[in-house]
């Protein structure tokens, strides 16, 4: 019996070593930092749970090449404790500047204080700390404005007539999700002809979006619009619409309006195919570039050249304007 245990343990250990090697090969590329003497090393305390982050990471790497800076990513995966530890680790590894994507806007204050005490320049990106002035520079999108822009689009499409829409909500423990929803509601006040008939919490996932839209289409056969807080749910919207033969292009009779936010490949394609009326593309290229640039400035002892906090407006694209603005939408540059 014991020999069997040994064999099994040995083989498990071998398998572990093999997978370690495998993981290490692809893992070290993005994580381990080079200690090049003349290259500034910036540590990014990141989160990698949703596809959107992939886009942000890619553009950080593009920006890093442009600014000739080396990056180290540490991913904390929803664990604020781990983020706190990783920030300290990055400092002890010699990173000269830290960019944080805060997982917990309140808890991150403590880490910012630690970094300030250690005299390491710190900036935040995308999610603002509770007190946005505790860092010298923050850049992010403006989810409230995005929601309002979406509302404006629905109002325009409704043209005074009754217009029923269904709202998918992003995660309600994230400011982005809450603000995108609030923006929509704020933008619709005073326009009673546009009615939100159903609010579906989706936690950014496409499966609840599918069932939510299915249910809404079933209950309201005159559903005229769908609000998606993230482009990742566009395929789910397509699926629900196709099932009841309502996947119709913009401008054609029976079209159900889709307004979405993110600017990822799905959004880009959706607008090009003219199924999505409006996609509010987050300005990822500039967000990452400004974030990195200002952090490097701080590291080099220079002042921040952009007033903080900076909220970058999203790039609104519709089927008629996508061709001209394609280069600005980050998702369009991610080919298959």
């Amino acid at each position: 019996m014991t020999s069997k245990i040994r064999i099994v343990s040995l083989s498990l250990a071998l398998a572990a070593a093999a997978s370690l090697g495998l993981a290490g090969c692809s893992g070290s590329g993005s994580g381990a930092s080079t200690s090049g003497a003349d290259k500034t090393t910036i540590g990014i305390s990141f989160e990698n749970g949703v596809g959107f982050r992939e886009g942000q990471k890619r553009f950080y790497q593009i920006a890093a090449k442009k600014l000739n800076v080396s990056l180290e990513f540490q991913v904390a995966q929803n664990d604020a404790q781990r983020q706190s530890s990783q920030i300290k680790t990055m400092v002890s590894q010699g990173d000269q500047g830290i960019i944080i994507l805060p997982l917990d806007p309140v808890a991150i204050e403590a880490d910012i204080k630690t970094l300030n005490t250690a005299k390491v320049p710190v900036t935040t990106v995308d999610v603002a700390p509770k007190d946005v002035n505790s860092v010298k520079f923050h850049v992010g999108s403006d989810p409230l404005a995005d929601g309002k822009a979406a509302a404006a689009e629905f109002v325009k499409l409704a043209d005074g007539k009754p217009f029923k829409i269904v709202e998918m909500q992003g995660a309600l423990n994230s400011n982005t999700g809450v603000a995108r929803s609030k923006g929509l509601h704020d933008g619709l006040t005073g326009h009673d002809n546009v009615q939100i008939v159903s609010i579906v919490p989706t936690d950014w996932k496409p499966e609840p979006a599918l069932t939510g839209i299915q249910n809404a289409l079933q209950t309201h056969s005159d559903l005229a619009g769908i609000y998606l807080p993230t482009d990742g749910q566009i395929p789910a919207a397509y699926s629900a619409l196709s099932a009841v033969n309502k996947k119709v292009k913009v401008g054609e009779p029976g079209h159900v309006a889709i307004v979405s936010i993110d600017g990822d490949p799905n959004g880009c394609q959706g607008v090009k195919d003219a199924y999505v009326d409006l996609d509010l593309a987050t300005d990822v290229p500039n967000m990452t570039l400004h974030s990195l640039q200002q952090t490097v400035n701080l590291v080099q002892g220079k002042p921040v050249s952009i007033k903080s906090p900076e909220y970058l407006p999203s790039i609104a694209v519709t089927p008629s304007t996508i061709a001209a603005n394609e280069s600005k939408v980050w998702g369009c540059s991610q080919g298959g």
């Binding site: 099994v8 499966e207 699926s239 394609q269 998702g331």
Partner: protein, 338 residues
Amino acid sequence: MQRFSSRLSPQIVSVLGVIVIVIVIFSILSPGFLALGNVSNLLLQASSTAIAASGMTLVIMAGWIDLSIGSLMSLAVTIALAAAGVTSAAYGSSSIWTYFIVIGVSIAGGALNGVLIWALKVQPLLVTLGTMTIFSGIALHITSAGNRSASGPIQYLGRAVVFGIPLPVIVAVVVVVVIAFLLRRTPFGRYVTAIGGSERSARETGLPINRLRIVVFAISGLCAGIAGIITVGQVGTMQSTFGVGFEFTVITAVVVGGTSLTGGKGSVIGSALGAILLTLIDNGLNRVNASVYIYDVITGLVLLVAVLTDSVVMGRIRRMNVRIRQAGLERSQKTPST
């Protein structure tokens, strides 16, 4: 003497009872709940859970548990899509081979669970906890937590409609019937139930438990794979969160359906009804625009109520059986044997 079979009727009755109550409540709160279109939606939305719950019922009947089905589902679809060359959220298409790869990986992963439990000689709870972590880790490694487009042939199963009935519903019915048949009317099913009753006795009677275990977990994996194909085909995209927490939904459906976690007692039809009940609640809460926080609270409460009902009902039946047996004993003691 009429003995209440502890296998079928009371559990099904109590689940059906809860379903009826829920339907009544939601029909009042939201007219149109029972419209044909909504019922069709409901059954469609319940299909993948029902399929996975069938496989899980088999596992739990034997007194085991499988925590890895969500991650296995995700891994199988990930590998299949990667093999089809899909590397982004919006481009690339699956092929007909995608089906085979998902099925193959699901069965292999399930069988691996069975083998590991055999080799490591510890509870399935812990082993499947480990494989759950490994499977999801590998899946995310392949996609780097990005989204993957699930377009092309992989959508057929999830979206086809046959004679007005969504294909996933038909598949679910077939799977439920097949596994119920396996469980009740084949030696295999009897062995599985026997293991659930008492693994030691089963071993002493010479049952090849290790081999049976591999088969059972492979079936569970297969069911998870089918459920995954249906879900991802319907949604049209695979996110990094695909399958997360699915095992808990499925186990909830199985328990609510009356199957006992200690093994030896349960019903596949009950699990399917449990899946429908959970979908009913979700659908109903959706229609009344309930606060997001309420969803989980209600699911948790339903779970507790189901376990409570089951224990109360089973307690009553046990007492009734005891009384019947006692009455039978007394009678045979009074009448002299001829």
